[in-house]
């Protein structure tokens, strides 16, 4: 929220928070290109549950930096490894968050990033294995101050 300095933010107070949060909350239901992202990644195949452990806080006080850790069960050998993992936030203005690409040299299918969440929503991870198998996991994160994509 660099555009608004501290004094302005205080002056606007609650009204400011409402104004910035309201359109985002509406977006969460309307502009959902999450399905499109998932379709593109999976090619229409239905991913199975399991193999993924997705670590996110239940409540994020600040949607601007929400720590996300992911770990996928895999031997990570040349024959069998996790190839790509797509992360989707279904309530953000743009559903895409990141696509992580692993190789057998990664050793472990494990990564941590920090993400922005505009409002309370589901974060979905879909993993594609080297043999084409798909796995998914999702977590709901309650956001008290919206990241607003910024």
């Amino acid at each position: 929220m660099k555009a608004i300095n501290r004094r302005q933010a205080f002056a606007l107070g609650g009204g400011f928070v409402m104004l910035t949060l309201m359109p985002m909350a509406a977006d969460a239901e309307v502009t959902n290109d999450a399905a499109k992202w998932i379709e593109k990644f999976t090619g229409g195949k239905q991913p199975a549950k399991g193999k993924i452990s997705l670590d996110l806080p239940e409540i994020a006080e600040n949607g601007n930096t929400v720590p996300l850790s992911i770990n996928i069960e895999s031997p990570m050998t040349a024959e069998s490894y996790v190839k790509d993992v797509m992360i989707i936030a279904d309530g953000n203005p743009n559903a895409g968050v990141a696509t992580l690409s692993f190789t057998p040299l990664s050793g472990k299918a494990e990564a941590s990033i920090r993400i922005r969440l505009a409002a309370t929503q589901n974060v979905v991870a879909i993993a594609k294995m080297s043999d084409g198998a798909l796995f998914t996991e999702q977590k709901t994160v309650k956001v008290t101050i919206g990241g607003c994509g910024g």
């Binding site: 968050v97 990141a98 690409s101 040299l105 472990k108 494990e110 990564a111 920090r114 922005r116 990241g147």
Partner: protein, 108 residues
């Protein structure tokens, strides 16, 4: 211009060991959705790709969207089978590449 990226990894490893690598680069990651005080949209400026390779072989890469926080922090692992050099690169929307490298040796 962005500051030098911060990278944390061990100086040496046992052959076959899986090490953890932590990286952080200073960047605004402007999403292109915010408006300034005049109501004008602030143009998008994000790092859209991060990649790490070891002795020329890809280890880990990551496509980043505007939903990544400012000053992107990325942590991942790598298996070390030989001594060598890790190369890291962050690619900005405007084509700028922030590059860094770190050496690792094998424990005797």
């Amino acid at each position: 211009m962005a500051d030098k990226p911060r990278i944390k990894l061990p100086k040496e490893a046992i052959k076959g060991e899986v090490i953890q690598i932590k990286t952080l680069v200073s960047h605004v990651m402007e999403s292109g959705q915010r408006k300034d005080a005049q109501g004008k949209t602030i143009p998008r400026k994000i790092i859209n790709k991060f990649a790490c390779e070891f002795n020329g072989k890809p280890v880990f890469s990551c496509a980043l969207e505007p939903a990544i926080s400012a000053n992107p922090y990325i942590q991942f692992d790598a298996r070390v089978d030989e001594a060598g050099t890790f190369k890291f690169s962050w690619t900005d929307d405007d084509g700028t590449v922030i590059a860094a490298e770190e050496k690792i040796s094998l424990k005797a």
